[in-house]
């Protein structure tokens, strides 16, 4: 999409190390404000991670005493101008064994342009220190937090954003032109030629204050809370419960498959599950 293209283009210039996470659609571009909490499920794969999802909470919603989020530091403004123009041409000729002939040519051109003013807003690291020192987890735990805990999702807080400062228009054009001739031999000679073109222009308006990319830190919630700026892959927000259904279910499945005593084991399993729930 044109929006994603612009975001990637900007990040290539401003974020060589790839520390910022691109926002994937204009619709989501206001959801990732500093201090917002994001949830992410544990992945079912070693090879990719699920996207961050806004949980409609800010860090102030889970901490006490109740106080507005502290102010942000601003860097910039950065001006970004991107204009790309390209033309590709090609032709093809094919003589068929029966002396038929097909020939043609095509040209594709594309261009995109964007000009924008941006800045980064980030939370001063000392602010996190002060918050950690002075504010405790709100009790009882927020309902959304309880749900995320029960699902085993990890929680992150937005620490930095790249934001547009003025409304901007992005245009992407794509043109294709082509022509061709063919001659087919035979009792009745068939020949023909044709040409055509196709033009596509996409323009989107990105409002002022839209967030193009963000950075997160992981929250760890136990008896107290903490922020991990460089989490390891296995770092979890909530400590996994020491008891639960899963180990029992695993045992049940293994026992059933191994011994085939499903009805007896079913009752043992139900009894164990009751005890575990208790």
């Amino acid at each position: 999409s044109a929006f994603v293209g612009v975001v990637r283009s900007v990040l290539r210039e401003l974020d060589h190390k790839g520390e910022l996470i691109p926002v994937d659609s204009l619709r989501n571009s206001t959801s990732f404000r500093p201090y917002c909490l994001l949830g992410r499920r544990p992945s079912s794969s070693w090879f990719w991670r699920p996207p961050y999802k806004c949980v409609n909470l800010s860090i102030k919603d889970i901490l006490e005493p109740d106080a507005p989020e502290p102010g942000l530091q601003c860097s910039g403004p950065f001006q970004f101008c991107d204009a790309v123009d390209g033309l590709m041409q090609g032709s093809v000729g094919l003589a068929t064994p029966g002396e038929g002939k097909i020939s043609g040519g095509a040209a594709v051109s594309g261009s995109s342009s964007a000009s924008m003013n941006m800045c980064t807003l980030h939370v001063d690291p000392n602010t996190w220190e002060a918050m950690h020192r002075e504010r405790r987890l709100r009790q009882p735990e927020h309902k959304i937090l309880q749900q995320l805990r029960s699902r085993g999702d990890n929680i992150y807080v937005v620490t930095e954003v790249l934001q547009t400062q003025k409304e901007m228009e992005v245009t992407r054009t794509h043109k294709q032109e082509g022509s061709g001739q063919f001659v087919l031999p035979g009792a009745m000679c068939v020949q023909g030629e044709g040409q055509g073109h196709r033009s596509q222009k996409k323009t989107i308006t990105i409002p002022s204050g839209s967030i193009l990319a963000f950075r997160v830190a992981q929250l760890v919630i136990d008896s107290d809370w903490d922020i991990i700026f460089f989490p390891e892959k296995k770092q979890r927000t909530f400590q996994p419960p020491t008891t639960g259904h899963s180990p029992i279910r695993g045992t049940r499945s293994w026992l059933q498959q191994s011994l085939g005593l499903s009805s007896i084991l079913e009752s043992i399993y139900n009894h164990l599950r009751f005890l575990t729930d208790g």
Binding site: W48, P50, P51
Partner: protein, 207 residues
């Protein structure tokens, strides 16, 4: 597969994970595969349904049962439960893995996958993405990967579905001397795209 095997983070590792996660689909009956494909195609065009289905299935895998749901997500779910609402784990696990891969992709990719499901043109795209992932190892390094012309089709360019699928993963592509500029940041989405194509192709084979 993810928790019980030692996983190597390269293309062979990805293939092994996908194979382990989709093995049970071989036992799927033809009618059921056809239903699943049709309903998954509808779910791909409905983002809230995709999200609801993934969450319900996760919950279902935890407790062993799944409650009925409306719309296309509910239709997929009905293929995965017994009359007493007990979830058929052998089916639910691969479909849950597929949904996990799909949610790592963009809305545009979902639309293109739904179209490819309709036209049954997934196998070429699967080969292309597989070839790219195989050649771009080590994934942590930037590289330039040439694409086999035989896998690109006649309309390779900005409008080609395979082009858009890869571009949406964060990869930069070139038309002339077709190649991809491999970016390590694109590894996650590209692997998720490969897994999505592999599992959907397997469902097509069964239907």
């Amino acid at each position: 597969a993810s928790t019980e095997c030692t996983v190597t983070e390269n293309f062979q590792g990805l293939q092994a994970e996908v194979e382990a996660s989709s093995r049970e689909l071989v036992r799927l009956e033809r009618d059921l595969s056809q239903h699943l494909l049709k309903d998954l195609g509808r779910v791909l065009l409905d983002q809230p349904a995709l999200q609801a289905l993934e969450e319900l299935l996760e919950e279902g895998l935890y407790c062993g049962r799944a409650e009925p749901l409306d719309g296309p997500a509910g239709a997929v779910l009905e293929c995965l439960v017994l009359p007493n609402r007990e979830l058929v784990q052998e089916l639910a696990v691969p479909i849950f893995y597929l949904l996990g891969a799909l949610t790592a992709l963009s809305e545009i990719q979902h639309t293109l996958l739904a179209e490819a499901l309709e036209t049954r043109t997934l196998s070429g795209q699967l080969e292309l993405v597989g070839s790219l992932l195989e050649k771009s190892v080590p994934w942590e390094k930037h590289s330039s990967v040439s694409l086999p012309p035989g896998l690109l089709g006649s309309s390779w360019g900005e409008e080609a579905p395979a082009w858009v699928l890869l571009e949406e993963c964060g990869l930069e592509l070139r038309v002339d001397a077709p190649h991809v500029c491999w970016d390590p940041k694109a590894q996650g989405p590209t692997c998720a795209l490969y897994a999505s194509l592999a599992l959907l192709s397997r469902l097509i084979q069964q239907s």
